[in-house]
């Protein structure tokens, strides 16, 4: 019985993380804030629900498999996030107007997509700003 309670609580905790991530995704003002907030939280949430499953079955084989899943998530999700964030930056996805600082601005060289630490202020590093909103509906 206790185990089931623990399972339920871990599960709800995980679900809550995921829900928070979703709310964040919806509410955050720009892409980068959304990314900061969400997929990671959701990953964590998913990990917790997985953990709940491991506790629920409490069988070494299943536990090991759950751990494998969690590790796989930890290995892959940040890479994906990094890739999409970087791509978005190239794409000129704008930062929220309330953003306080942008150290990255002007550091990507557009010709070969290299990130140069001491970039000069030159058109070579100017990424055109994308437009907010697109023609998704019409």
């Amino acid at each position: 019985m206790l185990r089931e309670w623990i399972v339920a609580i871990v599960m709800i905790l995980g679900a809550a993380f995921m829900l928070i991530a979703s709310i964040g995704l919806l509410r955050m003002p720009d892409l980068f804030s959304r990314m900061s907030a969400t997929s990671k939280a959701a990953t964590l949430g998913a990990g917790l629900v997985m953990l709940a499953a491991a506790l629920y079955f409490s069988e070494s084989g299943i536990t090991l498999r759950v751990l494998a899943i969690i590790v796989f998530l930890l290995l892959t999700v940040p890479v994906a996030a990094h890739m999409i964030g970087r791509a978005a930056y190239f794409d000129g996805v704008p930062l929220w107007k309330g953003t306080l600082i942008d150290d990255l601005r002007g550091h990507y060289r557009t010709s070969d997509h290299q990130l140069v630490r001491d970039a000069a202020e030159s058109p070579e590093f100017a990424i055109p700003e994308g437009e907010e909103g697109d023609d998704f509906f019409n």
Binding site: D134, D135, F136, F137, N138
Partner: protein, 779 residues
Amino acid sequence: MDIVLPTAILLLLILSGFAPFIQQAQPHRAGLLMAVLPAGLFLTLLGRLSAVLAGQVFTYQLAWAEALGVRFSLYLDGLGLLFSLLILGIGALVLIYGGSYLHGHHQLGRFYAFILLFMAAMLGVVVSNNALTLFVFWELTSISSFLLIGFDHEKEGSRFAALQALLVTGGGGLAMLAGLVLLGQIGGTYEISQLNQMADILRASPLFLPAFLLILAGALTKSAQYPFHFWLPGAMAAPTPVSAYLHSATMVKAGVYLLARLSPIFSATPEWQTLVTGFGLATFLAGALLAIGQVDLKKLLAYTTVASLGTMVMLLGWGSDLAIKAAMLYLFSHALYKGALFLVAGAVDHETGTRDVSKLSGLRRAMPRTALAAGLAALSMAGLPPALGFIAKEVMYETTLAAQPVSGWLTAGALIGNALLVAVSGLVGLKPFFGAAGQTPRHPHPAPLSLDLPPLLLAGLGLLGGLLPMTLAAPLVQASAQAVLIQPLKVKLALWHGLNPMLALSTLTLALGIGLYVGWQPVWGFTARLRWLGRFGPAHAYQVGLENLRRFAAWLTYRLQNGYLRFYLMTIILTTVALAGLAYLRSTNGLILRNDWGAINFYEVVLGVLIILAALTITRTRSRLATIAIMGIVGYGLALIYLLYGAPDLAMIQFAIETLTVILFVLVVYRLPKFTRLTSPPARLADFLVAMTGGLLMTLLTLIVTARPVVPHISEYFLQNALPLANGRNVVNVILVDFRGFDTLGEITVLALAGIGVYALIRLTIGRRQVIIPPAEEE
């Protein structure tokens, strides 16, 4: 079994195949050499005349396609013999004549081949006992005549005429085929000799009349009966020997032959008498009227041929013993003089370069032999004694006078027609040869003997036939008439019948004819002004019909095969929905749906609704990549449903495939242009509604099917035996690699092909064109 008939046909076919080579080897004598075969066959068959007269019938049978009623079954009786002799005899002459007429023509070899092919086919028609074999040869005559009419194929007129003849006779032939098959199915046999014996049984069938009408259509078109007569004058585009052979002496008489051949079955019916006689009379008048006004020798002869064919059909339609006798006699005499006159016309054309009768005169000095042949043939055509034509005309009048209750009409008609024949024979046989020499494109020389001998022979035979009717004409006429009537008939022919109404009519005919001949120019001139009437004629109808058919075909094809994928899909969807709906509603009262939908949970609702929303969103999006992303939602949603309902393998594949599809799409899509809205809102609405009928159909089917009780499934076997027999716990996988591994074998083949396809498609693009790809900018 008589081997001569099939051998004759076979030999002619073989010779036809070798004709071009013989022509190459012996360019000067080929025609003469090849004429030996038909001449020999002519003599062979002539030798059978007495036996046939005595009622003997020569038959030959060979199994062909019995299951389809086609038996290679031949049959030589009096009717067949008369026709065979004409075909072979005139054929031999035409071969000789043609070799000279077309001397030096580079396609002379083909000419021989086609004439011989035609000869074989025609011989086949008249000796076939099996209705379907007859049809086989019948169609062969159409094809060989098509090739012959289009001999001067580089002229558009020739091609037009060839096609016209082919379509008209071919169309009739098809109707005839249906009629023959009907007849065969009613009678249970396709052997004409047997069918001829069971007229009463056949007539009892409700299908008898349709069969008759269909066969009649075949006969009428082939024999150029009104309103199908128009192809015959057109066919004069063929070289003159062809016209002489096909369009006067033989092929056009195939219809007459068929009517004669089948008259034992049909002739006792009122429909036969009305229709056949009626068509004959109409054709006769039409031919006569159309002949007036023609100045081209061949056209003139062609229209009189139409008229004569009408006469024969009319006589056959009347069907009395006398009428049959008249018909056979008329047929025989017509073949002789018309063949001769065509050949004469050819010789004149050959030597002078024109066939315009108004320009021809005084040729007797330059072409005496030709003039002689022309005069003799004209004598017969005009029905003057002592030619055979005279006797034929007398017998014809005898028939019309006896034809109660319409003897007045028939006789009057015959009178007019015969008078016209007198006039035309004057125009063809006298006018070009007498009087002062006219101006012609070529200076006339005597025609070579090979051009003159054949018409002389034919015309001379016509004269001799009149002089010795009982020796030369009566046996053939008797034999054929007996065959038509399937009863013995004694035929007596004499030049002098004494003073009788027929003779009076003949005199009247001659008077009228001479009057017409003398005053031909004003009459011709007057009719020339009536040419516009032709616009309402069948020839024009054919042309307009063909043009409209072409136009309709183009219009319809453009409408259907319009290139719009949207239209194609709509058609498919609506067809499916209509057929499926029709099928379901046909045998069920309303829809049987399920009322127990099974338990449902909120998270399932969320999944379902999300999938629906995602799908609907796709219709509204203009961003390609967003579409892919949303497709992902649909895919993931479905995967979760699969998982939930016990299909983890499916869910796994679905997840994996979704990911790969995204990669694939992304690799492809940045080479594709962005979406643009191209369709108008009403069209989109229409599309959506059509698509919805498809969707609705599937929804309803799902509900109907799931409302049914569960039947025993073969899967039970898989669930029970996967582990014990196939050593696997994952039943789905065991099905995939073992129980139904064969499906998977095909499946990986498809995959392999897809791989090769993508590779080949990208690496090998022959029609490559550089396209400036606009940067994707929709997001």
